[in-house]
Amino acid sequence: MATEHLAAPMPGVFYRRSDPDEPLMVEIGDDVSEGDTVALIGVMKNFHDITAPHDGTVTDILVENEGEVEAGQKLIELTIED
């Protein structure tokens, strides 16, 4: 087992939903596949997808929905089975 943190590539606002009416994209304990969009970073009314770099399990979410984030800030912990 290895853990990996997905980080914000740019400053902005962390979104866990693609739209206010949509369900959360992922919750702790969810299995995700490589390429899945797990969150968004919004800045200047533009949104950047945060995608899973590998198959794995979301084991922690370190920022509240709609929290402000800095570039490089850890967002989501992913645990990957060896």
């Binding site: 740019m10 902005g12 200047m44 800095e70």
Partner: protein
């Protein structure tokens, strides 16, 4: 031809801007960081009015179908051409078939990519600049997307005469430490209380996530207006005045201050309490969300000296390039 493989967060085609239509409500658009746009063009041997790509936070990935020369200027952005690092502020040869991959800016917000002879899109009202709010100029009036195809101009400088051009470090701004924005106070600063007028230039203002080509919304203390009976023609809110033209760079106060930038509305009834000078708007365009800025009051004469100083830096860069 250049094929867009990845558009990035917000990449648009920009030149010096669209002038002469402000009175009908058409803002100039054009490069937010004009200085870096001009440096990028100078490096590849283009005139300043050639169109460049303005890439915001995240770069575009491009496949080049023709030989040419490119340069990156402005916010430092990691970039590789077929796996080889592309340094900032240097003219680099591109061969047909090569692919440029870029990452996120490591500081600053906007990186300019110039190509020899410029990006050639039809001029709209005298400019190639993209104005996304109404969807004109640039490539189909919008930000670039994967699959877009861009045409470059003709008669670019011969690659051998420009490849290897670099801009001297001492003539480039220190983006990380450039948070002071010189500001000419007025015209509506009289609307502020004495205390708020002092606060405007005393405190650090934080750039919010709502900071784009239209304007930069800032977070800080609440500024207060002098109470008065609103004059005929002004709105009912104490932040309203009888409509005025908004200078580019003007600071208006709907509630939180907004510094209007190059795609902004050209006039209206919000009190504009100061104007960030042209020389420092390129620096504001590089401030990232959550970074701070300060306003430093200057006279119009000092603003003109600052403009001259920017022109001197550009002239020094051009001289260094001409060797």
């Amino acid at each position: 031809m250049i094929e867009v493989v990845k558009g990035g967060v917000s990449t648009t085609i920009q030149d010096l801007g669209r002038f002469g239509h402000y009175h009908i409500g058409m803002p100039p658009s054009g490069a937010m960081d004009l200085f870096s746009h001009k440096v990028a063009n100078a490096l590849v041997g283009n005139a300043s009015d050639a169109a460049t790509l303005e890439m915001t936070y995240d770069g575009a990935d491009l496949r080049f179908e023709e030989n040419g020369v490119i340069a990156l200027a402005g916010a430092p952005m990691p970039a590789e051409l077929d796996g080889e690092d592309v340094p900032m502020h240097e003219a680099v040869r591109v061969e047909a078939g090569q692919e440029l991959e870029t990452g996120f800016t490591t500081e600053g917000a906007r990186t300019y990519l110039s190509v020899s002879a410029g990006i050639d899109v039809p001029e709209v009202m005298g400019s190639r600049s993209t104005y996304t709010l109404v969807g004109i100029g640039g490539h189909e009036g919008r930000t670039l997307q994967a699959g877009d195809e861009l045409v470059t101009g003709e008669n670019g400088a011969a690659p051998d005469t420009v490849v290897g051009n670099t801009a001297p470090e001492e003539n480039l701004p220190d983006l990380e430490n450039s948070n002071v924005l010189r500001t000419v106070i007025g015209l509506c600063d009289y609307r502020l209380t004495d205390e708020s007028r002092e606060q405007l230039c005393d405190v650090a203002w934080k750039v919010t996530p709502e900071a784009d080509r239209v304007g930069y919304r800032l977070e800080g203390p609440e500024l207060e207006f002098v109470e008065r009976e609103q004059p005929f023609g002004a709105g009912t809110d104490s932040s309203n005045v009888v409509d005025v033209g908004y200078p580019i760079g003007s600071i208006q106060l709907p509630q939180k201050p907004i510094v209007l930038m190059r795609d902004a509305v050209t006039g209206g009834g919000y009190a504009t309490i100061g104007t960030v000078i042209g020389a420092d708007r390129s620096l504001l365009a590089q401030r990232r969300t959550h970074e701070t800025v300060r306003f430093e009051p200057v006279t119009v004469e000092e603003a003109l000296d600052a403009r001259q100083s920017v022109q001197d830096d550009l002239a020094a860069i051009r001289t260094a390039i001409e060797r």
